[in-house]
Symmetry: C2
Subunit: 275 residues, 2 copies
DNA sequence: TCAAAAGTGTTGCACCTACACCCATGG
DNA sequence: CCATGGGTGTAGGTGCAACACTTTTGA
């Protein structure tokens, strides 16, 4: 495992927790579609895989996810939720690694490669891993996908047009979406997909993208304003030949306060807004 | 770590995945209350802790949870859901272990104890652990709590009268309940808390226990029958001086079929029933 | 005949859907 | 003054909460 592996070489010495990994589903929104940031690996053979990594001994798993996200998104404060553990005994990267090595023999059969270390890294990587799935919600306007030196490319793919990914990564994305749909009414986290301020139509479009379903245009504002967590700001003059829409901002402090005061007992909050 | 530790001695040789544990919240229902099965440890000092354990290299995490559950409940087929990962870097049992050893010096300062192994086990146990939380839903009528040789007692506690447990275990129970409340309408798993057949009043009582909230008596049957997953059986003559209620059975096959056919897209299923 | 609990019907309210209509803006 | 899209109002339907009522059973 030469050159390209250099950046993660001696991975077995890195003071990681063994056999535990973190996988990140980075979700963004643009042009009425939810999108996932997916890197393509810098090897021959068209391998796509979710951004992932390992957990240092002295690091919260949340912080590990944040570190991995920052490398690809460049931003530090990311909305993050842990949503699932992949814990199957036969869950390992051996099939993928073998396919990958087979199609990149010139890299891996190099007699100059540090044979011992390669073997150790191969064994380390292909053990059974318990993987913790996180999803992140980011404002695509603030993020320029950053290639690491393991990536051939890194791009946003609409959730319904994902490339075939390695291992169980397509399934992981599907699970992340299910969880988002199930919990968005409790967590009110969809706003993280938009800029600081947004119009009513934009947030409605986001909800419609999340649920792949249209909502009534007159009720949506009523329902979402009833939550009492949006501030209405000045109007947004776009230069278009129509009425200027109002801008809104999600007041996270107010939401947290309502939660803390117990006025929002999760079981009977003034939700759902997504029915 | 003598005598009582014998049953888990040489834990470091057991081919477990390192620094990963599983904690189980075993939920039952009786007398209008949700209850949790909580063992009390067989040491001086009143230590309660959730049933937990470790994951073998060749074992699914789900199966590890099942194995741990079977030891305490005696039953093999248990409804199980993974709901959270505790991943804080400072999450370890050192504070608990030190308190426990302090109050049980006669066991741990015994010069006959195998000093080396004790030390190794102490170090193994008190490392930082990433813990996977599962909750189980069981029919209390089918379960007799089984003490393992680590338990002084094992009992059902109402969720609102739990003893103070070690580490973050009280918080884990709270999170399990939040998850149950959030997902019960999608998973329709509350039936696992009752026997095979049950009356309408019983399942309503279960929902009321889960949500700590009353539901309208006339609407509840309508809503839950609308789901089209309950079979109405013969009446149940109890000998009581009142009308005999019908018995119902949850038809899991029908539910699975509806899910598989896509008639129940999770996002807009004919739910919720718990509003 | 009565008490107890199961089960059903009625009324009012809240919210949702569908549709129509008004408003602000720039050309 | 018109086209465009934001924003709001109305009418009909559905479902839920509260309450009252009927039914079934054993004593």
């Amino acid at each position: 495992m030469k050159s390209n592996m250099k950046s993660v070489e001696s991975v077995s010495d890195k003071n990681y927790i063994e056999q535990v990994s973190v996988e990140c589903v980075i979700l963004g929104y643009h042009d009425k579609k939810l999108r996932v940031m997916v890197p393509k690996l810098a090897f021959k053979g068209d391998f796509w895989g979710l951004p992932g990594g390992f957990v240092y001994q002295d690091e919260d798993t949340d912080d590990a996810a944040r570190r991995i996200l920052q490398a690809r998104t460049g931003i530090k404060d990311v909305y993050l939720e842990q949503f699932q553990v992949m814990g199957k005994a036969n869950r390992n990267s051996r099939a993928f690694m073998d396919r990958m090595i087979e199609q990149n023999t010139e890299l891996f059969n190099n007699p100059l490669a540090e044979g011992q270390r390669s073997r150790m890294d191969y064994d380390w990587f292909t053990r059974r891993f318990i993987s913790i799935g996180y999803y992140a919600l980011v404002d695509m306007n603030q993020v320029i996908p950053q290639k690491t030196d393991l990536d051939a490319s890194i791009e946003w793919y609409p959730v319904d047009e994902l490339p075939p990914m390695i291992m169980d990564h397509n399934q992981i994305v599907a699970n992340a979406l299910s969880t988002l749909r199930l919990t968005v009414d409790q967590k009110l986290n969809a706003f993280n997909l938009l800029p600081e301020t947004f119009t009513m139509q934009e947030i409605q479009d986001v909800y419609e993208a999340i649920f792949d379903k249209r909502f009534a245009q007159n009720n949506f504002p009523k329902r979402i304003l009833r939550l009492n967590v949006l501030d209405r700001l000045e109007k947004k003059y776009t230069g278009a030949a129509n009425k200027a829409p109002y801008l809104y901002r999600f007041d996270k402090e107010r939401y947290d306060r309502l939660l803390a005061e117990g006025d929002y007992p999760i079981a009977d909050s003034p939700l759902p807004i997504s029915t």
